[in-house]
């Protein structure tokens, strides 16, 4: 398992596009929004929590189809499936690798990009805490979407369609927490609810992903 994680991280670094792609997209989005809505600081401050969350979510979505697709194309996935590693473990490790290469950098980049969008300073801790707690769920759910579409040639767009409605609760609570933080309120409740969703998905989704993977390998 650790070997698989290490391999996935090595590949993400060496292949390029692993770490950088989602992050670059996140940056581009945060630069484009002020051009779209105008530079007024008050407007930006109001929409910043939502933009940062939606941006993080879309950036996450961008790299989902790579989770299994590359391994499926070169035959590695078949070999892993016949190895002693349980598929549930493989899907968990894949989700973890995706989070380390996408969710974690996004969480770290959110604070500086918040400055760009004039995010109220009191909201920053809530935003970062929310992303830290919420992005693992995005990766785990995304892995499920990737497992569903692994055999398909043009799975990328389909993943977005399948996964977006599943992202709704996480996005809703995460953005709500950041928004309450921006208003100077205590946002513990939405954060806890989101942490609950994250814990639940981490516990259960690998089984659904493994089941989908097994069906696709057949």
């Amino acid at each position: 398992m650790i070997a698989l994680l290490r391999r996935d991280l090595i590949l993400a670094i060496r292949a390029g596009g692993g770490f950088g792609l989602g992050l670059a997209f996140f940056l581009i989005l945060c630069v484009l929004v002020p051009f779209g809505v105008g530079p007024a600081p008050a407007t930006l401050a109001k929409i910043a929590p939502g933009i940062l969350w939606v941006g993080a979510l879309l950036a996450c979505l961008l790299s989902l189809d790579r989770i299994f697709q590359l391994d499926a194309e070169d035959g590695t996935l078949d070999l892993l499936a016949t190895s002693p590693l349980p598929l549930e473990g493989i899907t968990s490790v894949k989700a973890l690798a995706h989070w380390l290469t996408t969710g974690l950098p996004l969480t770290l980049a959110a604070a500086p990009l918040g400055l760009l969008l004039n995010l109220p300073p009191q909201a920053t801790p809530w935003l970062v805490a929310g992303l830290a707690l919420g992005t693992p769920a995005l990766s785990v759910i995304g892995t499920f979407g990737a497992a569903l579409t692994v055999g398909l040639k043009r799975g990328g767009l389909l993943i977005s369609l399948l996964v977006l409605p599943l992202y709704m609760p996480t996005l809703l609570f995460g953005a709500e927490a950041a928004r309450r933080g921006a208003e100077g309120l205590n946002a513990t409740t939405p954060l806890l609810l989101m942490a609950g969703i994250t814990a639940g998905t981490i516990a259960l989704m690998p089984f659904a992903s493994a089941a989908a993977l097994r069906m696709n390998l057949r």
Binding site: F144, G151, L172
Partner: protein, 244 residues
């Protein structure tokens, strides 16, 4: 004799062939009665005027939108556990009908909402959950169409349906947290057995709901028959290819 007998495609085709005309007649009759009674023979509401009459479309379609998903959930489970092909095809057949029902509920809701709330759309919990349900239907149908191997498609969509149901429920309560609604309470609370609409409105509404239910069954059976024929054609073509 067990209920699983009907999971055999041939038995299903035989049974539905004589069942369908009767069901169709009943569905047309009750939808027609419900709508005509509701539209022309009920008084206008003292506050909402004749706008209220859209309820005879809105409530039954909303009900069926949710019921269709529940039916897909059950048939998906049956497919995963017992691998009855008809069950998987029933789920597949129900999805587009459910999608259209959701769309009707959303559109009639918008038309009703404009004079009442002054807006076609609001991010109200109920409206939002219906929009999410609409997205779930879209994803489900898209996955069915994208996967070429039919049994695999049935497997994958079943898993998606199970996982989606959990998340749909989650979203339903999550949106409550996010925005308090404009939408009125349910018109026919089944759980409490009471109702919040007067009898004059309720009877045509009940008939309309029954009619929509029957119409849903008719459409699903028809579509399932089509799906079975399509699968049969596919199997025959594959056999022919194999023989040559």
């Amino acid at each position: 004799m067990s209920i699983w007998k009907y999971a055999n495609p041939a038995q299903f085709m035989r049974t539905t062939r004589w069942l369908l005309p009767w069901l169709t007649a009943l569905a047309v009759l009750s939808v027609g009665t419900g709508l005509i009674w509701g539209f022309f023979f009920t008084p206008d509401d003292f506050r909402q005027g004749s706008t209220v009459k859209i309820i005879y479309l809105h409530v039954p379609s909303a009900l069926m939108a949710i019921n269709a998903w529940l039916m897909m959930l059950v048939t998906s489970l049956v497919w995963l556990i017992r691998r009855h092909h008809v069950s998987a095809l029933l789920a597949r057949a129900a999805a587009p009908v459910g999608l259209v029902m959701t769309l009707i509920a959303l559109i009639t809701g918008g038309i009703w909402g404009e004079p009442m709330w002054g807006t076609y759309w609001a991010w109200d919990p109920r409206l939002t959950s219906f929009l999410i349900l609409f997205l779930f239907y879209l994803g489900y149908i898209a996955l069915w169409q994208a996967v070429e191997t039919q049994d695999t498609a049935a497997d994958l969509t079943s898993v998606l349906c199970l996982v989606g149901s959990v998340f749909a429920l989650l979203s339903r309560y999550a949106v409550n947290f996010w925005n308090q609604g404009l939408h009125q309470g349910t018109s026919v609370p089944v759980a409490t057995g009471g109702r919040t609409v007067a009898d004059v409105f309720f009877y045509p509404l009940a008939i309309s709901m029954l009619g929509f239910g029957l119409m849903f069954i008719v459409l699903v059976l028809l579509r399932t028959r089509t799906e079975i024929r399509a699968r049969r054609l596919q199997a025959l073509l594959a056999r022919e290819r194999a023989a040559s």
